[in-house]
Subunit: 138 residues, 3 copies
């Protein structure tokens, strides 16, 4: 069994943003040399997300509005977590979007459907954060 | 290490539906001959879901009403994604329900709790779609 | 390839509670002797959750209020599932929080970010329930 590990670093300039990280994850897979197995890609921070969806800017705008409706950023004082922090909403938004994705590796490629793209979802940016890529297989 | 891959195809006649796919996934596991490992089952489409819950029709009705409340289908024009599409709500509903499940394989069986059943959740049907089953182990 | 399996049992005295199970999962990993691989930790019940977030009591209070807003427990009769049951809300809450987490194992340790802690989320307690820990690797 082979295993591979890499951290991807991000420093988003805004509070919230979605970034298509499919090319970086593909690059990890090529480096690993693994042809059959499973790939885990997870946010290492609890106010960020890794998820799979469509790379369509209208949809990303819909996600932003929808997440603000389900878990509004303000007023900050509606959340007990926001004593010394202001990011309780980011913990909730990331819960909706998910922490991680698992991707099958088949014949040396990520076994994704036609529109599946991997995103880093930042909900409390303006600081350095990491995503973990771990691959096991042969 | 052994690995196994199969696509399950669906062509749902309605826009939304839940289908218990536990028997098909079990059949994949038997075909694989894998006795210890991990099984990934994921929707290959971004308006569909694979999730684990109870096979109880009242609950499925509750899910339908609840998802419509959290991410209503109409009016279509509330979503920017719905320029040439009408399925933005399906992307949001699938986000709530999840893309994938991971299942432990122990002594040749899916290691599920007493009420755990695997479902395909369709949120934008009337077309052919796929679910991926990938198993690795020994 | 090595594999390891253990059930963690819980009997929560209240309907809802979050418990940090990181020490128990760490103990499983030590017992397994696995140094490189993947760890699956999932609720075996469909009204409970395993998720990763912050171990901060204010945030846990925010989660409780937020989940009650998104999927209220009462009135029980708003849910069709609540014929002989009263726990439909627990199925919905667990859907938001998620069934499972996947954790990379690197050099014999759980490869978690600085604030990542693993929680058992109970949404229909006062009964015995189980969490599964499955680890595969070398």
């Amino acid at each position: 069994m082979k295993s591979y590990r890499k951290e991807l670093w991000f420093n988003i300039e805004t509070r919230r943003q979605f970034i298509n990280i499919t090319p970086q994850v593909n690059s990890c897979l090529r480096d690993s040399g693994i042809r059959e197995g499973l790939l885990l890609c997870n946010a290492m921070h609890i106010t960020a997300s890794v998820f799979i969806n469509d790379d369509e800017s209208g949809l990303h705008n819909d996600f932003e509005i929808w997440l603000e409706k389900l878990a509004p950023e303000k007023p900050y004082k509606q959340y007990r977590h926001n004593g010394f922090e202001d990011n309780a909403d980011a913990h909730l938004k990331r819960t909706i979007m998910g922490r991680e994705v698992m991707i099958a590796i088949t014949e040396g490629k990520m076994d994704l459907g036609p529109w599946e793209q991997i995103f880093y979802g930042e909900f409390d940016g303006k600081r350095k954060k990491r995503v973990l890529v771990k691959i096991i297989g042969e």
